[in-house]
Point group: C2
Chain length 286, copies 2
């Protein structure tokens, strides 16, 4: 269950080549919270040592402990990765906006880097700690050059649309590609999504078609949605790792750290079948 | 916002002298998750260096990352603290019992210390990850000498009573002293409670009265309940820190790490008034 820097680096490389403008390392899908601060630092070091451009990375750095978040954020910025995705501290539920403001402000002040750009991470289903509009307003006013945007993984499109409308100065990313076209139409800037790990090309095609105003947008969105729907029949992270294992013909990719568990044989087979019907082609397994 | 080993040590000392049989260091009230692994190790080292007996400590060691939980648990055991209180990994919600079993088993196997005794930490309101009876059964069967008990902070007495009845081989602690007498009557072994930070003497008196079968049990429980009720009008952890600051005439004690915030002036005054009416006497503030 140790981090595997070689496979990690190869995977990020593939994602950047297959259509992703950038990659979030250490988000929810990357099992960030399942790894220690030192493990995460070492993985980022390995990634950069392999030659991947720091400008194409967004580094997940939000931990429960202020000191951990400061350590990871400082390390990212000093490594040339100025953009981070930051969970709020997520053990204490129902914190006040004042407490969350102090948390983010405390990190910003302690890191003390003018280059720092933060995307806040709104994922109430897992963190249990929503980023409220009031908090966002206050942070954006206090640190206008640092607070760069928000990843909205709530899955609530109306909330995402309200964020886009309320905060034109911020980059708003829905946390799923099923909202990509809607978000682009409203003024969102793209999406940050787990499924890009296995479907980056198709998602990028929709983005490019939007930029070229080339029509077919709804059809492209529909194809992307079909893939997402097939994956969402299963526990998302083990399912994605299973698909990567099939795409790379490398069963090592199925490993997850507890409390996650790999997909079992029967659902794995159903998933592969659904994706094959959606046009995926898998190499013969090794 | 750095850890204050001097005040920490003095406080643990006071608790052990004022009636606590033992002290959990790095539980929810101790803001464990707000501190980094190295900060927590250094605080435990300072505590033991001051001469506090390791047998009287229970060390909170459960983190989101398996590697962090292993590091903290190994450090505790190697320091002579064989008993730990272990949260499940708490970022991913709705994990399977299989995943949680692998998590605890993974820690036990990696720590590899026959002396280790684990109390599981059931606090679904904050962790979002309940310890189910099925998980407890499986862990207790697989590691009968390691799995020693459970702290049930759910606040659901029926659930606590069911744990006591179902697992006679385990030490069951309710997470609040309001259930102490009921728990002792049913076969529980005591309580592990935040409010012991400010009311250890009264809680111990009830425990001792129970052991001596000396009557007055309901009256003692009633007095304890009054204090708890006064504290529960407020945000629990900041309120307790405020009370400690009053008892020690030391305003430094009011500090909390974000996302918690200290009690404001008006509720702080109400709290002090209610406790004075309940019989608390505070020294003149410094």
């Amino acid at each position: 269950l140790k981090p595997d820097a070689t496979r990690f680096t190869a995977h990020v490389d593939t994602l950047l080549e297959s259509g992703c403008h950038g990659v979030v390392v250490f988000g929810t899908t990357g099992e960030a919270t399942s790894f220690a601060v030192d493990e995460r630092k070492a993985l980022l070091d390995a990634l950069l040592a392999s030659g991947i451009a720091p400008e194409r990375l967004i580094v997940g750095t939000g931990c429960c402990a202020l000191s951990d978040t400061v350590a990871l954020t400082s390390h990212a910025v000093l490594s040339g990765c100025r953009t981070v995705l930051m969970l709020p501290p997520f053990y204490y539920k129902g914190p006040s906006d004042e407490g969350l403001f102090r948390s983010y402000a405390g990190v910003i002040e302690r890191v003390g880097a003018s280059a720092l750009r933060i995307f806040l991470y709104h994922f109430p289903q897992l963190s249990g700690v929503p980023i409220t509009r009031g908090l966002l307003e206050r942070l954006s006013a206090a640190y206008p050059t640092v607070i760069a945007g928000i990843k909205d993984s709530s899955g609530n499109w109306d909330g995402t649309a309200a964020l886009i409308a309320t905060f034109p100065q911020l980059c708003v990313f829905p946390g799923s590609e099923v909202y990509l076209l809607q978000a682009l139409k409203e003024g969102g800037v793209g999406c940050i999504t787990a499924t890009a790990n296995v479907n980056a090309g198709a998602i990028r095609s929709l983005y490019d078609a939007w930029c070229r105003d080339s029509g077919r947008l709804e059809a492209l969105q529909g194809q992307i949605d079909d893939v997402r729907q097939a994956v969402e029949q299963h526990s998302l992270i083990p399912a994605l790792k299973h698909i990567v294992s099939l795409l790379r013909a490398d069963s090592s990719w199925r490993r997850v750290r507890p409390p996650l568990v790999p997909l079992q044989a029967e659902p794995a087979e159903r998933l592969a079948g659904a994706l094959t019907r959606a046009g995926f082609r898998f190499p013969k397994s090794s």
